[in-house]
Symmetry: C2
Subunit: 244 residues, 2 copies
Amino acid sequence: MTRTIPDHSLRENPNDAVPIAPVGHPIPDIVIRRLPIYVRTLRSLSESGVDSVSSEELAEQIGISAAQIRRDLASFGRFGRQGKGYSTAEVADSVAEILHLNRGWDVALAGFGNIGRAVAHHRGFPPTFRIAAIFDRRKEGREEPSTGLHILPPEAISAEVRRLGIELGIIAVPAGAAQDVADRMVEGGVRALLNYAPVVLRVPDNVVVREVDPVAALRSMTYYLSPAAGDGPDAPATAGLRAG
Amino acid sequence: MTRTIPDHSLRENPNDAVPIAPVGHPIPDIVIRRLPIYVRTLRSLSESGVDSVSSEELAEQIGISAAQIRRDLASFGRFGRQGKGYSTAEVADSVAEILHLNRGWDVALAGFGNIGRAVAHHRGFPPTFRIAAIFDRRKEGREEPSTGLHILPPEAISAEVRRLGIELGIIAVPAGAAQDVADRMVEGGVRALLNYAPVVLRVPDNVVVREVDPVAALRSMTYYLSPAAGDGPDAPATAGLRAG
DNA sequence: CGGGTATCGTGCAAAATTTCACAAGCGAAG
DNA sequence: CTTCGCTTGTGAAATTTTGCACGATACCCG
């Protein structure tokens, strides 16, 4: 769940040629999962012409406490300037680099049904993520229109993924096929899986998995809603930023 | 984040007409978010002809510790039988009832682009969840093929959602429009939002939000991968069941 | 150039969550 | 009817995560 971080320090801080980077310190996964939100928000601010923000302002915008933001960022080095706040552009870039987003990533997509197609056409993936291979048993031989990629059968996953050096996989096949597909991807060298199938994947310890499960999310939210249709409002609870 | 639970006790335990249900005890949201996994897994087992499981077996299958499963379930009552384990069918039904899944839920869908369409055609939503209204500025006036629903403009959200008594909303519009759509839904009485847009929604305290953000998930996973393309394997970490 | 203000980074405390470990209960077997 | 083995439910401990509070420091303004 955590790992030792390499020296992803922030670049030149005025007086701090080598910022105190807590190298060798393991960062909890829960912190890592928040980093993309920081990147996204800081970039958005930067593009809006905002050059710097305080942790307080950022907190307001993201819905997390300011202390937590400060602590999260501080675990990678000294990103802020006292009295001033954080430089939106610089910190966005630095955190993106920590996440290894300063390069392109080829992704293997398994499943080209409703979900798989939506994923393939998703505008939010590029430029960092690029679908480089598509697999689907039923659509074998067809071509994906926009990229011209040949759709291959599941049996080809392992070899193709290895040939292309792909480390990221997206699983968008039916639940029954998900584990098999995951196994093939892992066998081919994939070390991170985004799983849309409603099953818990069993993978080796050195493979990361994130679940995308809208149905589970809906099913958990109904807990907070009135038990029966037509009922008046209850005394529900809130839920802040949590689930990814 | 938590709430007081009503008396969702388990039905007739042999000698325990009224199982000790910790009524009035607030259940952490993190527990609630795990419940759908239990329901899904137990149902799957039940359908496979497995009538009972121990917490240990369940843990193995789900990738959570047995103690945690026992504690999660025990927070709602006494679901297990010592020496025997949990009855798959019974506990699945009970937890489903706790989540208010023993009724149908109408859902409002905003956005009918790639994601919205995939959501609308998703086989996993029914029978519990039924898309009952669709909104999209650009597709106003058109009809959704399978259900015949008229697509309405965002301005109609509040009134239509109120008219239909809808409490659940799915936001699948571009980031820039998400907050506006969320506001309209909340104004119409929606109290739970599934958000596909890459922004943190600001909602009143009595509204629950869950984020579905595959891009953020990918961006967080790359942290654990080699920084540069073509590099050899690193010393990565694992990640168990966490993000939803 | 010096005082005042804002904001970070962080030790420490608190809260939340998970794990341990075991008494108690249930069912099966003899 | 008693014994034995398995598995729950749960206090208590451990661990993780968050929040508080404040010293330190950078910037701004006069």
